[in-house]
Structure formats: C-alpha cells, structure tokens
C-alpha cells in the first residue's frame, strides 16, 4: 500500500512528489566502509526529523525504490578516499538503489564525503579538486543561502547567513560549465560568505568556484553540501544553524507538522 506525500508549502506545492510506504517517513543514512559521520548524522535526523524513522543502511545492501522518503550520504572517508574521494564508493551496491530513488524523485542529501560520492555517481554536476591550499581545512565558516525553493532550504530565508563547520581536503568545487560560460549556476544553494553575507575570496576556505558550498540538481531533489549541518545543531557545540537545513527537510517530509506550525 502506498500513499502520496506532497509538499504543501506554497512555494513548493507540486514540485516534488515523494512516494513512500505508509506510516512515518523513513530516512536512510548510508554507511560505506570508512564513513565516519554516520553516528551524528543519524542522531541529528532522529532528533530534528522527529516524525521520521531513521535506518542506518549498509553499503552492500540494496533497498526498494519506495522504501525511503530521503536518503542521506554522510561524511567520512568512504573506502579511505583511495584513488579520489567518492570514486570507489559510487560502485557500492547501495548506489544502484540511490540512483533509482533519485530517478523516482526521492530526496537525496550528500554531506561532505557524501557530496563527493554524489558527484562521482553523476547525481550532481561538477567535480571536486583538492583544496586550493592543498591542505585539509577544519574551520567554522559562514554560508549564504541562495535559494529557498528547494526541499532542503525551505525553512531558510534568501540571503540568510548560516554558521557551519567544514572539515575536508577536497572541497574545491568546479562546475562542468565551459570556462567562457559566465551564466550564474542555477543549482547553487549555499555560498561561502563573510559576516555581512558578501561572497569574497577571503571567506572562501577551499577555492571553490564562485564560493560554492552546496548545490542541487536540475530537478531539485538531490542536494550536496560541504559543510556539516549535523555538527551544528546545538548551541552547546558552537552553532545551531544546521537546524535550518534539517527543519527544511522536516517541512518537506511532514506536511501535518507544517500545518501545525502554521497555526
């Protein structure tokens, strides 16, 4: 038995149709060998998407296309980042299911290493180079929200500045646009910025093109970001701004909750 869960937020109405089995929406957090952020990602999903059930899904498993409302690929070093970040993980059996899930319009989020896997899998456009510094960077950064018409940023404001931590060696994003093509990339959701929201070279921790920190695909159901919102979900830990991204997902997944909030 299936039910259709539809967004009811006015801007998002009808944009995404997520087919899931009856009951609470299920979230998959995928674990590859070498994934190392699965624990805190599951914790954040369970705490912040409290209407959802969360499964840790082993990379060697496949899952039915209608099983999950959203699939999260967490951070880490899948397969030790051997060869290139994400290059081996994309061949894991679970990625067949992630591809089918995305093709059916299901939501997919890739955080840090998960973003790199999504790029390698072709679910998002572009590629990652090593950071311009050629060093790993672990820092708190500021990111400007560029779009709120996505299921992942619906609870944010355009231009809102989020304080989030990064921790990566390969976050220097390049799009596949021709160098001569100067059109702004439509899929950009987050950009590194300064405290006043300006995208500047000093605010860019890794040399990413146009300060890009997060993107969605053309269809808008696959989201990749380098910062770690799951590490910024409590003021005790330095910032609760990551909640805006989880709250967005909650809005998307649980329309009754949205209605309750609107009251």
């Amino acid at each position: 038995m299936r039910c259709e869960v539809k967004k009811t937020g006015s801007r998002l109405a009808g944009l995404y149709t997520v087919g899931v089995a009856a009951g609470a929406p299920r979230i998959a957090v995928v674990q590859f060998p070498g994934t190392n952020c699965e624990h805190e990602t599951v914790r954040a999903c369970e705490t912040l998407l409290s209407d959802s059930a969360v499964d840790l899904v082993w990379h060697a498993q496949r899952f039915p296309v209608d099983r999950y409302a959203a699939v999260v690929l967490p951070g880490g070093f899948a397969y030790g980042d051997h060869l290139r970040a994400g290059a081996i993980a994309r061949f894991s059996p679970v990625m067949d299911s992630v591809q089918q899930h995305a093709a059916a319009g299901g939501l997919v989020v890739g955080i840090c290493n998960g973003f790199q896997v999504l790029l390698e899998a072709g679910l998002l456009p572009g590629a990652m180079l090593r950071n311009a510094s050629l060093q790993f960077r672990s820092e708190w950064v500021l990111c400007r929200v560029e779009r709120t018409d996505t299921p992942f940023t619906a609870a944010c404001q355009v231009g809102q500045v989020l304080r989030l931590p990064i921790a990566h060696g390969e976050g220097n994003y390049v799009s596949l646009n021709e160098p001569a093509d100067s059109r702004p990339l439509r899929g950009v959701v987050l950009r590194y910025c300064d405290a006043t929201g300006n995208v500047t070279p000093p605010a860019n921790p890794n040399g990413a093109q146009d300060g890009i920190a997060g993107i969605v695909n053309e269809r808008g159901n696959v989201f990749g970001l380098m910062p770690h919102p799951e590490r910024a979900a409590e003021t005790l830990l330095g910032s609760a701004d990551g909640r805006f991204l989880f709250d967005s997902l909650a809005l998307t997944l649980s329309p009754p909750r949205l209605a309750a909030r609107a009251v």
Partner: protein
C-alpha cells in the same frame, strides 16, 4: 650450537639487537643454551627500553596510580577511570619520536594510529586526540620539513579515522634539533561492561590475528626506538599507516566485543606479534603457542624472524572462546578483514613459535617479561645549569609595545591555527571547545549532562632549569587549564621523553622529573593511570631537554557551564593570583636562570577557586596566565572574541607585570555587578583577586604604554601563515 657465523660474530649480533654481553650471559645461563636468531630477535625486542623499561621501571613505581575512580592503572594498554553513569574514560599518551625524526609524515601518522588502537583495545570508542609536539630551531630548514610532515601525518590519520583532534601543543627549542618529540594522546569512552583487558585465560583457547596483512615494515622498530641515533637507522624501518583500515578494525572490534566471545584483546604495536602474544600470556600467567605459517602476509619470503618482529600496523590479537572462532571471524568478514587462528594459549609458561611443523623458538615467558633486568641509575646533577644566586638583571628589550608584538610573532607564541585548521576537530558532533577556544579542550559526554576536558603541558625551558619543579609545573599548569573551563582533574597520562639514561646527568633529570610528577599529582590529588617512556632521545650525543609531557583529563558535571577564553563586551577583567615580580625564565627574557614563582598549594587554591566561580555561573571567561605572561593571555582572549579591553596595572615593574611567567595565575571576566562577589569568593579561597580592567572596543590598551588595534595584534600572531 652458536650464533657466530662466517658473517657475524656473537658480539655483532648482540649489538644489532641492543643487548649487552652481560645480559646475553644471563640469557644463556637461564636457557642452558645459546638462543637461536629468532629467539635473539624476540629477546632483543622484549629487553629493549621501549618494551622492557630497563632504566625506568624502578622509578616509575614512585608515581601515584590509585584513586577512588581508577578502574585500571598502568600495566594494560591504557588506563581507565570511572566517570559515573556506568561509563569509564580510557586514556593513554605515547611517543613516536624516533620514527618521526626519520619520516615525519608516517612517523606521526602511525603514532596516532598506535595510540588510537591502545584505546579501542580496551573496548572504548576513541573520542579525542591531542598531540604534544616539540621541534628544534625554527629557522632550520629541517625543522620546517619535520613540522610540516608531522602535522600532515596527524591530520591524515585522525581525520580519516574519524576521531576529533581537539588540542595539544607545539613548541620550539634548539635542544630538539634533530630529535623532535611527537607524543600523541587519545581518550575513549566505554561502558563498564565492555571494558576489556589483554589478559590471557583458559589454556587451549585460540588466538586470532585480525586486521592488516603482515609485511617487513617496521621490522625491529622497538630496538630502533631504544637507539640514540635515529639518523643511523634506515628510513624503511618506519611503519606505514592505513587509517581507513584502522577505522574498519575499530568498528569490527567494538562489534565483536558485544558478542561476549572475546576473552582478551591486545593490539600489535612495538615488537609486533612478539610483544602482544607474550604480554597477553604473561598477564594471565600462561603460555602460548604460535604458528607463523598461518599469519596472512602481504609479501613473500618472510621467515619466523620477520613475522614475529614485523611492526605492520592495524593488527590486533584476540583471545576467543574455544569453538567461537568462526562466529568471531564473521564480524570481521563484514568489514572485509581477515581473522585467522594463529595459535593457542597454553598452561606451561613457555612461548613456542612454529613455522608449520618446525619449532623456531622456545622461550620461558618470564625471561621475556619479569626477568628483564631493571637497572639502577647513577644520577648526578650536571654542573652549572641552575644557579639560584644569578638573578637575572636583564631588563628585556626596550619598548613594551614592540616587545608584545615580537612575542606574539615568536615561534613559541604565535597562533597555532596553521596546524589546528588541518585537524578535524568537530567530527563525532560532541566538541564544545576545540583548539584555541578555551584554556582546555572540552567535549560533551553523549547521553549525559557531563563533559570531559583535556590538556597537555610541559615547558622545556623550566625543565632545563629544574627538572623536579619543572615536572611539578607541568602537572600544575595542566590542572589550572582544566580548572579554567570548570573541570576537576580525574586522571593523568604521561610521556617521559629523555636522553640516554646511562648518562648520569640524564639519569638525574629523569629521577628528578619523576619525583616532581609524583609530588604534584599527590598534592593536586590526581592519579597517573597510564604512560610511556621514551629514552635515548639524542642527536650527536646531545640529549634533548627533559620532557615529561603531561596529559590530563578533567570531568565537568554540567558541560553547559564550561567556559571559553573569549570575552564578552563590557565585562570586568580580574587577575587571580599574586602580581608578578620577575621576568625570570619567561619567553620575554628566555635566557635568565631563575625558576619563576611557583607553589603547589597556591595552584591548588587557585584551581578550587576557578571551579567554584564556574559552578556559581558568575564568570564569563577564564584563561590561565602562562607562556608570554599576562599580556599574551589578554591578547588571546581578545582575539578569540574580537573584543578589545582597557587594562590598568599599578606596578613599579611594568615589564614584569605584563610578561612575567610567575605561576599560579589566571584571568577571569564577569559582569560588573558580580565583581564584588567574585572578589569575595577569591578572598574566601585565599587567592588574591585584583580588578585590572574592562573589555570592549577594538583596541587593546594596556596601561599607558601599549595601545594596539586588534587587527595589528592578529596580524602579528598570524604572520607567516
């Protein structure tokens, strides 16, 4: 039978294995025969300083190792202390100096890998890494190479493994040129029920070797680490780390421990399979039989000698219940890891090593453990290093403002951001204060209100002046750092880095330092539960400055009260402790020969006061006054918050007030309405508390002499980054 061959005399063999002729005589007498080469290799490794503590064993007995929280003191892979809620904290610090001198990236990486294994060998999940690093002359090109490699190696291993590097220290002193100090500390958390030891039990139970395949890497590393000339050794001796494999090993080991089929677990570190099998058997008073033919290899042509002494990383030895081998192996297969039965525990106290059907070694385990000689040292203080009469009259450089900027840009005081930003400090999502955010690192204990605080300390300048008081100072500074965030010290792990202990002056330093550690830990009421000794740290016959690195763990009952060092605006700044008197042995006047003011009872009162103030919730920041003195402590708090201050000091000696490193001091800030209460609580604790200024603005104004914008201070602190 004799060891002598056409190629090598017995004496040459002994030199290669680091054994003295008299020691060889003891061995032959005990065995009633000469050992063969495999046995000699095993004896050389187990009788090395690194494994056998020949020169430090007697002294280490002086250290206080017990306390109401202690669940496991020294003698296991790591110490363990109770933190309530059915949880224990596991901690250990270990050196990887010699490998890092030769191959800094892999040396440091495998140092981190080794210490992480020590933690999860106890069943604990590692939750924090700290690194205590010392390098030589900062202008030396080799120093830059070593610094770069060591930081890169630590980042490589810790980041991939997924354990946050939350703190540590980096300092420079010409005495470390050619022999850097790389001490890695790791901390883990374990439910009491999963705490496991590496003590063999049950003759007949099988031993499983799990994790990486065995190769020639690190062959004879333990003997190499006990040699005083790393340059003479071969770079290929240094092991190569694979943090990805270690992450798999961690997950598989923790999962299999929950099955109840594992009786003991011991990682393979220095001296590889030899020491892990022997130590596990020795703790249980049992014996062991191994078949090296069953050990999975990564290369061909390895004999019993190579397999027994290989230091290939990411391997673990498990003792499991007889008949449960395949159930245990399944846990490892899920993570694509081997688990091969390579031997069994026996009840006759011998270690027997077979290669298939050939007996390659047959030695009494007692000979390899309890009977390792323990030497008395012949300590003799060096002539002319300390001279209490020679009070420094050095006035320091003229111009206090320039002096401050010079200090901020100096190698020992400049910002450590260049290193810390390469370490993932927020993975696991529990980091409250990472590097540079507070006087000590703080993490939350998941599922509780509690927090853990960590720090590492040791000041080589003070150690050279007086190794006993210097060691006391290291413990006191660590306790002060923890008190600043509001934590109570619960355990110490130490790493004793010294030169060749056979030299009377080094023996004296080691003896004095251990007495100092013992005394300070007793006064401050904190046990030493684990540690490591690294001797023979010398270059061209010159010993390093005595360096007993102290790693301390503190407990916070309510982690949300933990204090940062960053200020809030319009707060009152209060100096706790006696006003400073002399610039002796400071970064400002480093060549003076007088130990700064320091008193353990004062330290205890100050720490109690800091905790009382944090618990009362009336102060907003705390920072201890240490390297660089009051001025540098103020700058650090100002830059962390990007908030300036105006500070007044009434003193005849302004340079001393600003830059002296007299101990037992801290600065705290509070809202103006709480000032009277903070001063009163200070008086109750017998600690002098002095109002010295107010936070606010974007300049740091220190008396009439210094008025510098924060941007200028930051530029000086972060120059060359």
């Amino acid at each position: 039978m004799t060891l002598a061959t056409a190629e090598r005399t017995v004496e040459q063999h002994l030199r290669a294995f680091g054994l003295l002729p008299a020691e060889y005589g003891q061995i032959v007498g005990r065995l009633g025969r000469e050992p063969n080469l495999v046995e000699l290799g095993m004896l050389g490794a187990m009788w090395s300083e690194h494994c056998g503590y020949k020169h430090s064993r007697k002294l280490l007995k002086l250290l206080p190792t017990s306390g109401p929280r202690v669940l496991q003191g020294p003698g296991e892979n790591a110490g363990a202390v109770d933190i309530g809620d059915g949880l224990a904290v596991v901690l250990k610090m270990e050196s990887h100096n010699h490998p890092s001198a030769v191959e800094p990236f892999q040396g440091a990486a495998t140092g981190v890998g080794g210490i992480l294994r020590d933690i999860f060998t106890m069943g604990a999940r590692p939750v924090a890494i700290l690194d205590s690093l010392r390098f030589g002359d900062p202008s030396d090109a080799r120093t830059a190479y070593l610094l770069d490699g060591v930081i890169g190696g630590i980042a490589h291993y810790g980041n991939c493994f997924g354990c946050p590097t939350v703190g540590g220290e980096i300092s420079f002193h010409p005495g470390y040129t050619g022999n850097p100090i790389v001490n890695a500390m790791a901390v883990g958390i374990v439910p009491h029920a999963r705490l496991i030891r590496a003590t063999a039990s049950g003759a007949g139970n099988p031993l499983l070797l799990v994790g990486a395949d065995t190769g020639r890497d690190g062959l004879q590393g333990a003997a190499f680490a006990s040699n005083d000339d790393p340059e003479a050794s071969h770079r290929g001796v240094v092991q190569v780390g694979n943090p990805f494999l270690e992450k798999l090993l961690l997950e598989a080991c923790l999962a299999v421990l929950d099955s109840g089929d594992v009786l003991a677990m011991q990682d393979l570190g220095a001296a590889g399979l030899t020491s892990s099998a022997i130590e596990m058997a020795a703790r249980g008073g049992l014996g062991v039989t191994l078949d090296v033919a069953r050990v999975p290899r990564r290369e061909t042509g390895l004999g019993a000698f190579e397999v027994m002494l290989s230091e290939s990383q990411e391997r673990m030895l498990l003792l499991v219940r007889d008949g449960r081998e395949s159930a245990v192996a399944q846990h490892f297969a899920r993570w694509d890891l081997h688990a091969e039965v390579i031997g069994r525990v026996t009840d006759d106290g011998q270690i027997r090593v077979f290669d298939g059907v050939t007996l390659e070694a047959d030695l009494p385990i007692a000979l390899l453990t309890d009977e390792v000689p323990a030497y008395d040292l012949t300590p003799m203080p060096p002539v002319g290093t300390t001279d209490a009469a020679a009070r420094s009259t050095h006035a320091g450089p003229s111009g206090l403002s320039d002096g401050l900027l010079r200090l901020l840009a100096s190698p020992n005081l400049r910002s450590r951001r260049f290193a810390f930003r390469q370490y993932d400090s927020t993975v696991q999502g529990n980091t409250v204060f990472g590097p540079g955010q507070a006087a000590a690192a703080v993490i939350r204990v998941e599922g509780t209100q509690k927090g853990l605080a960590f720090t590492t300390d040791c000041n080589p300048r003070l150690m050279l002046l007086d190794p006993r008081r210097g060691a006391e100072q290291a413990v006191a500074e660590a306790a002060r750092n923890l008190a600043c965030v509001g934590a109570t010290p619960i355990a110490v792990t130490d790493c004793l880095n010294f030169g060749n202990p056979e030299k009377p002056s080094v023996a004296w330093q080691l003896t004095e330092a251990i007495h100092g550690l013992a005394n300070a830990c007793q006064v401050l009421d904190v046990p030493i539960v684990s540690g490591n000794v690294s001797l023979y740290n010398e270059t061209a016959g010159r010993p390093i400055p005595p360096t007993p690195a102290v790693g301390m763990v503190g407990l916070l009952d309510n982690v949300s009260l933990a204090l940062p060092l960053a200020w809030q605006p319009a707060n009152t700044i209060i100096l706790l402790g006696q006003p400073a008197e002399s610039l002796s042995a400071s970064e400002y006047v480093p060549d003076s020969k007088v130990f700064p003011a320091f008193d353990l009872q004062n330290e205890r009162r100050l720490a109690d006061l800091l905790r009382a103030l944090v618990a009362a919730g009336q102060i907003h920041s705390a920072q201890d006054v240490s390297d660089g003195g009051l001025a540098v402590a103020l700058v650090e708090s100002a830059l962390a918050a990007n908030i300036g201050a105006t500070v007044h000091l009434t003193t005849a000696n302004l340079a001393a007030a600003l830059f002296a490193e007299d101990q037992g001091r801290a600065i705290v800030t509070c809202a103006p309405q709480h000032l009277a209460n903070v001063l009163a609580v200070g008086a109750q604790h017998g600690v002098t508390a002095t109002l010295i200024g107010t936070t606010g603005g974007d300049q740091l104004i220190l008396t009439d002499e210094i008025n510098l914008p924060l941007t200028t201070l930051r530029a000086a602190s972060e120059a060359n980054q």
